[in-house]
């Protein structure tokens, strides 16, 4: 298949929730390096987003709830995939982050 990496790179269109399927495809193909490279991109973008939300405090909670939930869902999907494809390190990291963000962002787990 065409090289999606070069065609639409992370620096042009940041990896986000919609690219979790791409991770799943690479995991299914057994290409862990590629999968984990996309995971790294998604994580980095979501963490940055989450940190920004946190920096705003609770003041904009009502406006940002949708975005927060999407970010949270993205990490949860990565956790799910890490579990399915035995990526222990990623699974632990996602569990910790989800726990951390759930408390900080007032999101029920």
């Amino acid at each position: 298949m065409i090289n999606v990496w070069r065609l639409i790179p992370d620096k042009v269109v940041p990896f986000n929730v919609y690219n979790v399927l791409l991770v799943e495809a690479y995991y299914q193909l057994g290409d862990m390096d590629k999968a984990n490279e996309i995971v790294a991109g998604i994580k980095s973008n979501v963490y940055e987003e989450m940190n920004y939300f946190i920096s705003l405090g609770r003041k904009y909670d009502s406006y940002l709830m949708y975005e927060k939930r999407i970010a949270f869902y993205t990490l949860d999907e990565l956790r799910r995939m890490a579990t399915t494809f035995n990526q222990t390190e990623l699974k632990t990291e996602m569990e910790q982050k989800l726990q951390e963000y759930a408390g900080t962002l007032n999101i029920a787990m």
């Binding site: 298949m1 065409i2 090289n3 999606v4 990496w5 070069r6 065609l7 639409i8 790179p9 620096k11 042009v12 269109v13 986000n16 919609y18 690219n19 399927l21 791409l22 799943e24 495809a25 299914q28 193909l29 290409d31 590629k34």
Partner: protein, 134 residues
Amino acid sequence: MRWELGPERSYITKNHLMILDLLATNNWERPLYYAITVSEDNYLNLDSFFQMEGLAYRIVPFASQGDIFGRGGINTEAMFDNMVNKFRWGGVENPNLYLDENVLRMLGNFRSSFARLALQLIKENKPDSGASGS
């Protein structure tokens, strides 16, 4: 082809009438498509008759449940040919090219479409097509 609009739909609008009219009179002489960006509200419960062929769903006279999103199936042969051989991407990989938010959103859609295609190819046991180069 038989289907129901579904219990949740208590009205149809003119654009929906147009779709129903096309289905009733076109007799499959010309292909009918929904763009992948059309909102689900306009599907008229036809999604099980969709076959994804790239950035559009073709309405076909048979139902399927092959797609991971539960929207009909994916014609992997047509979609692969469209996405890989026919589409021109216009140098979007160039970081110096300005892309507005609409283009960025569309590119996100395209990347997601590649993933859907890859997953379907894997499901059809054609992993060589699903794998991307390095």
